[in-house]
């Protein structure tokens, strides 16, 4: 089954908590959709969360989804639970939606928010204390508790809205909030931003209806603008009027970039891609592209920024690849390093350094850290039994051995796993093992290895985490992974390998061994910096001055959040440790995984051949960035987002604003005389800009992109309402009004070009060239909306920014790159048949359907044999299908097959 959720949709809370409790009952896939997407085919209004069952049925009610999860785990329905759920739906929800809307969308506080829900909260409190049960429906926590907790959590997690006098409610709420499934759900949905995490979703919802019989307003926009106070508007307008003057001077470029005392020094790393493969879209959004957006944003804020990455080149996989291609490992690395570098260049990734790990600096720094760990007693030695090929004179890594599976007798089992029965194998247990290179039989030999004594370092790690985590921007998944590792207890980890291609181990008796990649790969960041500047220690041994942001996919969290910090803490050399660990979830391709071997998915080098510009790829990947949840790349969706968001919304607005200036005002920005409506718009854009900053400071990259689109939506509405193209032909006053509207619109376009810079650098530069935006305004983004194109400013030539993506173009790309759901083309034969079906034929069929329907009804009424009824029902359905065809309605394929 598949659960559809949307960022910030409050319904996700109870549903994820209930799913967490019923875990393992059924496989649950989670898809994130936009707040305005219609998932359920038969519902007109968008609704999330929605659970699509394997039968094809949809559950679109939050309580029903939770109920279903509970039923699956063997829970039985009872009156009291039903009563709570009915009360939740009919009484609590209307009050709560009103309160949340006031709080989140309108920014109201205190009694304005609490007022609507007070009665409902009191009701829960009284029920709990009257029954003197800890939970709503009895002695144990159950469905009613999860549903109500989930509904109330966004509001009550802020102690200001949990009245102290309601003691029973208080303790009930605390008990539930501390439980694991609830905690996880809360982290996933609210992402430690509190109730503001709901904003992107609630903003898109209609204002909750007449709660307590108040009149429904059809104009939430008006309402929203009205909540800005006069002071806020005045402040925004004052800032706007100051214009370019308020920009600070541009930072001079330095080379190399080094930390500066008293400034904000931001060191950004992206996980080092493994050299032996071409990266796919998931790899790109997971680290390099996400980190790039943040690096560009950080530079726009004039923070002193260094962004680095490189290829991770040592290890077995490189050796294997070299053997496959008949090259030396070094040649393989050179070849693929260039491929990686080219791909990232095409995607416009703004690395300050893109290095590699096979350098003398890597050896020097790794060996130094190792020596320090060794002298401080954090390295253990132990013996491991391994296969050794005497002919090749080396120990065989798991993938260099093949043999007969000890479990199922499969002949070609690999040293780590049998491809037939799928069981994990310890290489020395293989029957008739063979060296994959020379085919001779290896022997079991013991080999001495070194281990990092993690248990001994655990206490230091926890101390460090205790200081670092609170108030930092570690993503919830990273916190969760680290917490679960620590809960299970750390174990010594082997840090050496019997390989040739790696960093040599500087210890007697270990001359023919190298360091295991996961010990030295994270040291790659240091050595890459060292190759960039000999003053690398000013970045890496300077935790007081440097803010380290590390970007990666979630599988890399243990190495960055745990292993490297342990090595660095054990080495006692004042290393800079990660301040903010930003981990993404996974990106799927259509409905499956990217797979190089099956040729499914888009890989970095192919993206360039699609004819779609890099910025469009960047935009779409960032729009679906797996932030908080796995997400999926979909061709159809890409087309949709390009055509709706870029072309119709953003591109349309910026182009119109510029065109009006050229067409009506000869290319010179007209005089602007702001009316109170305009002043409010300025304040409103300022507010959204500040929201954008808040989000990006917290590295909520995907959500901040929504702010850009919201501003351009406001801009489009503004133009639409004020119709400058009509007013320009009117009276003097009308012409002046047209000037003001055009001037304000083109200034919003200029602001958007800067906000867009981290996401779509080329498009941003194009807009700035078209508008001739003055230089400092192109490279600095402050928290206020400024008039950067004053009256009299001359703009350049305006032309459209985006191209429409066509269906057949996308369809052919989908076919070229494979995809789980290469859809059958929409049956032209059927459409033809429908067009020619005579009305009489339709009538005949309709009568038959009616007749058959009656037969079925009669049989059922008589409580006839089930099989007989089923047979007649099948006939009825068949007839209806024919009827639908004849009427030319689209044929409803069984709904279960329709996947998002």
């Amino acid at each position: 089954m598949r659960l559809f959720v949307s960022e910030g949709a409050p319904g996700s809370l109870p549903v994820l908590a209930a799913a967490g409790r019923a875990q393992g009952r059924a496989e649950l896939l989670i898809s994130t959709v936009g707040p305005e997407e219609c998932v359920v085919p038969f519902l007109t209004r968008p609704k999330v969360p929605v659970l699509q069952l394997d039968s094809g049925n949809y559950l679109f009610s939050t309580s029903a989804i939770c109920r279903y999860f509970f039923l699956l785990s063997g829970w039985e329905q009872d009156d009291l639970t039903n009563q709570w759920l009915e009360w939740e739906a009919t009484e609590l929800q209307p009050a709560l939606s009103a309160a949340l809307y006031y709080l989140v969308v309108q920014g109201k506080k205190g009694e304005d928010v609490l007022g609507p829900v007070r009665r409902a909260l009191t009701h829960i409190d009284q029920s709990l204390s009257r029954r003197s049960c800890p939970f709503l429906a009895g002695e144990t926590e159950s469905l009613a508790d999860v549903v109500l907790w989930g509904a109330l959590y966004p509001l009550l997690q802020d102690p200001a809205y949990l009245p102290e006098e309601l003691g029973a409610l208080h303790s009930w709420f605390q008990t539930l909030s501390s439980q694991e499934p609830c905690q996880r759900a809360a982290e996933t949905v609210l992402k430690q931003q509190g109730v503001l995490a709901l904003r992107p979703y609630l903003q898109k919802q209609p204002q909750p209806g007449s709660f307590e019989g108040r009149a429904v307003s059809n104009e939430p926009e008006e309402e929203e603008l009205a909540t800005l106070s006069e002071e806020e508007i005045a402040m925004a307008v004052t800032a706007w009027e100051k214009g370019l003057e308020s920009l600070p001077p541009l930072r001079p470029q330095q080379n190399p970039v080094l930390p500066v005392a008293g400034e904000r020094n931001v060191l950004i790393t992206s996980a080092l891609p493994y050299v032996n493969n071409v990266p796919h879209l998931g790899n790109i959004i997971g680290c390099v592209l996400s980190a790039d957006v943040f690096a560009r944003y950080s530079r726009l804020r004039q923070w002193n920024t260094l962004y680095l990455c490189g290829t991770d080149e040592y290890g077995t996989a490189t050796e294997t690849k070299a053997m496959e291609e008949g090259l030396t490992p070094q040649e393989i690395c050179d070849k693929y390093h260039a491929i990686h570098a080219n791909i990232y260049r095409w995607f416009n990734i703004s690395f300050d350094i893109f290095g590699r790990t096979t350098t003398p600096q890597q050896t020097k720094i790794t060996q130094d850290i190792f020596q320090r760990l060794l002298t401080r007693g954090f390295v253990l030695e132990d013996t491991v039994e391994q296969l050794r090929c005497e002919r090749c004179a080396r120990f065989l890594a798991d993938r260099f051995v093949e043999g007969v599976c000890p479990f199922c007798g499969y002949e070609e089992a690999r040293g780590d796993q049998c491809d037939k029965c799928g069981k994990l194998i310890n290489a020395i247990e293989l029957k008739k093992p063979q060296c994959k290179v020379c085919r001779s039989c290896p022997v079991v030999k013991s080999s001495r290895h070194l281990f990092l004594d993690l248990p001994k370092l655990e206490k230091r790690l926890e101390e460090w985490l205790g200081k670092t985590l609170p108030g930092s921007d570690w993503t919830p998944n990273a916190r969760f992974i680290i917490r679960s590792w620590l809960r299970d207890g750390l174990k010594p980890r082997c840090i050496t390998r019997d390989l040739k291609w790696g960093t040599p181990v500087p210890l007697e008796g270990f001359e023919d061994k190298v360091f295991y990649v996961w010990f030295d790969a994270t040291i790659g960041y240091l050595s890459i910096t060292a190759n960039y500047t000999d003053q690398w220690e000013r970045w890496w041994k300077n935790p007081e001055q440097v803010n380290l942001y590390q970007f990666m996919a979630k599988d890399n969290v243990p190495f960055h959040g745990l292993v490297f910090p342990c090595s660095a803490l054990g080495a006692e050399d004042n290393y800079t440790l990660v301040s903010h660990l930003i981990a993404t979830e996974y990106l799927n391709y259509e409905d499956g995984k990217f797979s190089k071997s099956r040729g499914v998915g888009v890989f970095g080098d192919m993206a360039q051949d699609t004819g779609i510009p890099a910025d469009i790829w960047r935009f779409y990947l960032l729009y679906i960035r797996p932030e908080g949840q796995d997400s999926a790349f979909s061709w159809t969706d890409m087309l949709l987002k390009n055509n709706s968001e870029l072309l119709n919304n953003l591109g349309n607005f910026i182009n119109r604003a510029g065109m009006f200036v050229s067409k009506f005002f000869g290319g010179y920005v007209p005089e602007m005389v702001l009316t109170s409506d305009d002043r409010r718009l300025v304040a409103h854009v300022t507010l959204e800009l500040q929201h954008y900053h808040q989000l990006l400071e917290k590295v909520r990259i995907r959500e901040a992109l929504r702010s850009i689109l919201t501003i351009s939506r406001h801009g489009n509405q503004y133009i639409q309402v004020n119709e400058p193209w009509k007013r320009i032909k009117g009276s003097e006053a009308d012409r002046q009004r047209a000037g003001t509207v055009t001037g304000l619109a083109v200034n919003i376009a200029a602001l958007l070009s800067v906000m867009l810079q981290p996401y779509m650098p080329t498009v941003s530069a194009t807009i700035q060239a078209q508008l001739q935006l003055p230089l400092p305004a192109c490279s600095i983004l402050i928290t206020n909306f400024l008039c950067t194109l004053p009256a009299g400013h001359q703009i350049g030539t305006v032309s459209p920014l985006f191209q429409k993506l066509e269906n057949d173009q996308i369809e052919s790309l989908r076919q070229r790159f494979g995809g789980g759901q290469a859809r059958v083309p929409p049956m032209p034969a059927v459409v033809e048949a429908a067009a020619t079906a005579a009305p009489q034929q339709v009538q005949v069929l309709m009568d038959e359907v009616t007749r058959q329907g009656n037969i079925v009804r009669e049989l059922k009424a008589q409580k006839a044999d089930k099989n007989q009824v089923a047979a007649e029902v099948a006939k009825l359905l068949d007839l209806k299908k024919q009827l639908a065809l004849a009427e030319g309605k689209p044929l409803e394929t069984p709904k279960g097959k329709k996947k998002k």
Partner: protein, 174 residues
């Protein structure tokens, strides 16, 4: 129809002999049932489910986990959407959605008659009687389903029968 009257109808259709007394609570007149062996029950669908169990007809609440969840989902739909102070537009959307939902279904759960069909039938009755012939054709699947439920033995009772024309008049309109 007041909730108490509706519950009395339901009792009869379930074959429960002894009539319960219902009180009403608050401005929305939410029904309350005082049971003999426990605390009172509040809310239309809660009481309805209770009555079904009393009549030993649990199958009307669905037999699999999936069916049970679907039944409750439509009961919730009944009290939140159908009973909401709906304007004409809301009703049109509601009928449109139901119509497309029922396109491939005999009953709300698919093939089995449940409490959801009964309560949705009672709840929609006041809207369906007012539909024009053309609207009934427009919501063809709703009409078929509604007509079927009103003929289901013991359900309609004193409620007026709604007439549906079997032959389509507006063949071009859909």
């Amino acid at each position: 129809m007041a909730a108490a009257a509706e519950l009395t109808l339901l009792e009869k259709s379930l074959g429960l002999s002894k009539g319960n007394k219902y009180s009403a609570q608050g401005e929305r007149q939410i029904p309350v049932l005082q049971t003999n062996n426990g605390p009172s029950l509040t809310g239309l669908t809660t009481i309805a489910a209770h009555l079904v169990k009393q009549a030993n007809k649990e199958y009307l609440l669905g037999s699999t986990a999936e069916e049970k969840a679907i039944v409750q989902q439509w009961l919730e739909y009944r009290v939140t959407r159908v009973d909401g102070h709906s304007n004409k537009d809301d009703i049109r959307t509601l009928l449109k959605d139901l119509n497309s939902y029922l396109e491939d279904k005999v009953y709300l759960t698919g093939y089995n008659f449940t409490l959801a069909d009964i309560l949705l039938y009672y709840g929609l009755h006041r809207f369906i009687v007012d539909l024009t012939v053309q609207e009934k054709e427009k919501y063809l699947n709703v009409s078929r389903w509604f007509c079927h439920i009103q003929h289901y033995p013991g359900i309609r009772q004193h409620l007026s029968i709604v007439v549906f024309i079997k032959n389509r008049l507006y063949t071009n309109a859909h």
